[in-house]
Symmetry: C2
Subunit: 339 residues, 2 copies
């Protein structure tokens, strides 16, 4: 039997239980080139809300009355594809269901001897790789340099700071709230954290936290926070632009101080990116991140809800702030181990 | 005899003839490690005005009653420095005088078999190298790509466009005035020129001139023009930030649409630079630029005034718009040829 969760409507406002429906179908059979994947973990993410709508977006809408799609860690149960074998653990975009059929093209194998396999949906997966590629490929941190990260307590930001510590940098996080800031310094080993909601003078706080200026600024937020950090750039600084949340909800064109002047004065670099720009380096990044997690050099938080039937609730919980760390749904246990 | 031009005052407003004085001294003798350079060409440049002042600036003020300094192409007459020999033609910052003594550290040799030696003060010198490094090292133009350059009729911009043509790009210049635009397309081989003073809709003009979008934007100006070009960036575009003249005279913080959002959406790169960032590659750039000028692939304009005694007038002429192209003073003829 294959249970599936379907999208029943494009909700107005916050989705409700009626937005989803659980149905039971049979486990599909395979054609040549395909493989059958048993779902172990599902990822529920805020961005999925924008796919439950036909409004213009950078992602396609989910289809009504079809299985919802999202990040899945699964186990290959049967394979008619030479690149995968039964027992392989894989990660990719699959359905909210017990079993998915795939042609394997968008799946990546996970090494289960490194980090826990659930982490392939966050710190060893997309968010971890976003931190990894942005920081290392664009930021190019050198030992002794100062790295500032905004949105520092988020999934990407917290990994950025920990990788920068591995590289021997002085790491400063900017986050909102005392609790988040303590988490950064006390649990994740950041050298300093600035609570942008509490500080009376962000420029002064930055000057104190970054006595040698800023060499790398990993930008998750844009807006006023970015304006302030840019005034502290050292010569030849690097800015990976990962997110600009301050602009996402702007209803008119968001204006701010022109920042190219500061890039010019300091011969600094700014570059936007998304993790897909580095798709060809997925294996390298997942292996390195898995190793760091296994060694305890990168820490993370996850909240796990049990049972496919509870996936809608887990998703709705994202909007009421019930999770600390990455929200996952565990659908099944691994049945086989590789020999 | 060594004639010298001294700075006699820090002028208020536009300098006058009384700002300068010509004096006669004897030709200095050399110590070990030094060389004697006969001035062939002097460069007069607008930035020198800011050195005739004690106001805070990015350059140090000239000293009163001392010889003025500027870019010079000269001939080595005598050398007690193993790196230079009599007959060498060199370029560097030297005095407004017939003969200068140098330790050779800031001098570069010119190959007089390539472009005319006067071009080492512009298209084969600082402005040419600014175009060369910014375009090639940051812009990385590929054949078939679209390169847009603002301030396109200036010394840097006109060279940028011509190098981009050598690299097989579709080249669009933005400049102010019909005459400048005709110069770009009719004399320098740009594919299109946009007169920003005349166009009714810069966005539309850009769309028409760049049907395949913009891959490289060489930014000399910043401000509204840059805001418009950024809306046309292709995926993975590159922006060498060379100048932001729109901001130089701003009396309050210059605001504009936040541009990091667009760099993020297109995974584009922006990087500030100055030519000194590439000082270690001076020889490579001067050789390549000299070769291109010799081959007629890079064209330029220069205005030459004869005689050291006319250097002050040539300098003052910059502020009344008397020059077309680079303004130079020819002080002497070369006396020797290398064997």
């Amino acid at each position: 039997m294959n249970r599936q969760i379907l999208l029943m409507e494009y909700p107005k406002g916050v989705p409700t239980e009626g937005t989803f429906q659980l149905v039971e179908t049979s486990v599909p059979s395979l054609e040549e080139g395909q493989l059958l994947v048993k779902t172990l973990y599902l990822s529920v993410d805020p961005y999925m809300r924008s796919r439950m709508s036909t409004a213009k977006s950078y992602v396609e809408p989910f289809e009504l009355y079809k299985v919802l799609q999202g990040g899945v860690v699964g186990e290959v149960m049967e394979s008619k594809n030479g690149k995968f074998a039964a027992g392989d653990v894989v990660v990719g975009m699959l359905g909210w269901q017990d079993y998915s059929v795939s042609d394997g093209k968008a799946l990546h194998k996970i090494n289960p001897d490194l980090a826990p396999i659930s982490t392939a949906l966050h710190v060893v997966g997309m968010t971890g790789m976003t931190a990894y590629f942005g920081l290392l490929d664009i930021g190019k941190p050198q030992a002794g340099e100062t790295v500032v990260v905004s949105g520092a307590a988020g999934a990407v930001g917290s990994t950025v700071g920990q990788i920068a510590k591995i590289y021997g940098c002085h790491v400063v996080g900017i986050a909102g709230g005392r609790e988040k800031c303590s988490y950064l310094t006390d649990e994740l080993g950041f050298d300093a954290a600035i609570d942008y909601k509490e500080t009376e003078n962000l420029l002064k706080s930055l000057r104190e936290a970054c006595p040698n200026g800023v060499d790398v600024y990993f930008d998750n937020v844009g807006g006023d926070i970015t304006d302030a950090v840019i005034l502290h750039l050292n010569q030849f600084a690097r800015i990976p632009i990962c997110g600009q949340i301050s602009a996402y909800n702007a209803t008119e064109i968001d204006k701010g101080p022109r920042n190219f002047v500061h890039l010019l004065k300091t011969s600094s670099l700014a570059k936007g990116f998304i993790v897909n720009d580095y798709a060809h380096r997925t294996k390298e990044a997942m292996t390195q991140l898995g190793q760091w997690v296994l060694e305890g050099r990168i820490k993370y938080r996850e909240s796990i809800v049990e049972g496919l039937e509870n996936a809608p609730q887990a998703f709705l919980g994202l909007f009421s702030g019930e999770n600390t760390g990455k929200m996952l749904v565990q659908v099944a246990e691994r049945t086989r181990s590789r020999t």
